[in-house]
Subunit: 310 residues, 2 copies
């Protein structure tokens, strides 16, 4: 492959009818133009310009070459312009991953406001409860709800809020298998756990007593869950249909509790709080579109969390 810069230099010399004129226009030394064009001719093995001290004329080869050069330089300029446009203002596509329920209940209401404010931005929402690989899956911003914020190199995390997790099960399940008296009883029951709860071969729930008093402490319970999935809705449905006891965010179970589809189990104990947070690649060279959506989410998601339950 040849040197593409020489194409640009040659085109400039032709367009401005001379080395000196071109040098002044594009702001480089004329000696550079002279040498680059000479090198180009040498590599091509053809004279592109017939030059006397004063007159400058294209050869046939130069004419042909120049006709294509224009397109090349314009094309390159278009490439630069296209990213410059992304930098000037929020524009282009932003890929956002979010837990399924959050996407359905919060983002669905919050995003329209953002998109109206930034008409040139398109947003792609990937609703998933998986812990997505931000880099490989080309996600610009991931919203995650996990008990701990993982510290991955090259990624930045910002907390949006926290959500209590509580134990629930269906009335039918409790009627049939009884109720646990304490967290230590839980391993005797069928449970539906999150993939994030998995430790070694089993799962672990860290439960904290809500009761004010001496026993305000945490117990780590090892389980052999009957169902494991990262999907909240699946775990909720499992609880509703009597598969087992599930540990779910209180915002998620608020409505089912009200409708008596499930009821609290060990209500004085709660699971480790889920920390809802944003994750995005290091802000080196971050686009305005991504920046603006992060800023928007940092304001609106916590606000939304406070005024409603998910």
């Amino acid at each position: 492959m040849q040197d593409l810069n020489d194409i640009y230099f040659f085109a400039a010399v032709v367009q401005h009818c001379g080395f000196s004129a071109a040098a002044r226009k594009i702001g480089v030394e004329k000696t550079r133009l002279s040498r680059r064009v000479s090198a180009l001719e040498k590599r091509l093995g053809v004279r592109l310009l017939q030059r006397t001290t004063r007159a400058l004329a294209l050869t046939e080869a130069g004419q042909r070459f120049f006709e294509r050069c224009g397109a090349t330089v314009e094309s390159a300029q278009a490439a630069y312009d296209s990213v410059a446009e992304l930098l000037r203002e929020p524009a282009g596509l932003v890929r956002l991953s979010s837990p399924v329920l959050l996407a359905q209940r919060c983002l669905a209401h919050a995003l329209p406001g953002y998109m109206t404010a930034h008409p040139k931005v398109s947003v792609f929402v990937e609703p998933t409860d998986r812990t997505v690989n931000v880099i490989e899956e080309r996600i610009d911003i991931a919203i995650r709800a996990k008990p701990v914020i993982e510290d991955v190199a090259g990624l930045v995390a910002k907390t949006l809020g926290k959500s209590q997790r509580v134990l629930v099960a269906s009335s039918a399940f409790l009627a049939r298998y009884g109720r646990p008296d304490s967290p230590a009883d839980l391993p005797k029951f069928n449970t539906a756990a999150s993939s994030d709860d998995i430790f070694d071969s089993g799962a672990r729930w860290s439960l904290t007593s809500l009761a004010t008093g001496l026993d305000n402490r945490t117990q780590h319970i090892e389980l052999k869950p009957r169902l494991v999935t990262s999907d909240l809705r699946v775990r909720l449905q499992a609880a509703i249909h009597g598969i087992g006891i599930a540990l779910l965010p209180e915002q998620v179970v608020a409505a089912p509790l009200k409708e008596r589809l499930v009821e609290h189990v060990l209500p004085e104990w709660s699971g480790a709080k889920n920390i809802l947070h944003l994750v995005y690649p290091t802000p080196r060279g971050m686009l305005p579109s991504v920046r603006s959506l992060i800023d928007y989410l940092l304001i609106h998601v916590p606000a939304w969390l406070q005024e409603r339950s998910i």
Copy 2:
């Protein structure tokens, strides 16, 4: 303006899904690719690639940029290919200037053979008796008929043949004004001279005696011509119509002499021989098309001159 090579390097990295793979494919050091892409990102102010040690993914900006890069690189390749095609074989346009009469009588017959042999070559013939400026007028090959071969820097000259120049005038002219007895008589007569004969304010004919003997020498005659033109046909017609005495190539006057439109004047004296020659720019980077036409002309024009009179 930005660096066009970086576009190529970036496109290569994306196309081959990695720095190392691209480096191997296009034959450069991976370190170079790494540094060039980094520099490109720095100049653009955006991250184009999200890179971990193993995975490589385009950012939104990188995606946009890459979409245009392809076109740019292909366009550049097309530019190089277009001249490479001219170099591979005789092809493209060759611009040829020629004295008018030579073009009409010789080239008209000689060129078809050349063009049949080289179907990809187009020839543009500029028929003119002017001494064209080869460089400014973008002439690839000039055929000239002049007494002396000018040595212009950057141009090469090749002799095709010589043509005697003889003095002619119409019978009517001679009947009316009489005949010169010697070259020294010529200034008394009206004459039609070439632009090339002009010296200072007047014109000069250098006449050489053809007679074998002691007076085989040259006389330089200063004239005040009544008509001056570079066009042979105009001078010939001037002679035929009795404007004055003209000094014309013998091939040019052969037919008119036979038809008795003109007759010889001072037949034992002849003008300085015209040297018919090719002039073309220094063969540094000469195209096959030009080279082949020069070669063809060097063979066929002298041959044509020998077998016929112009």
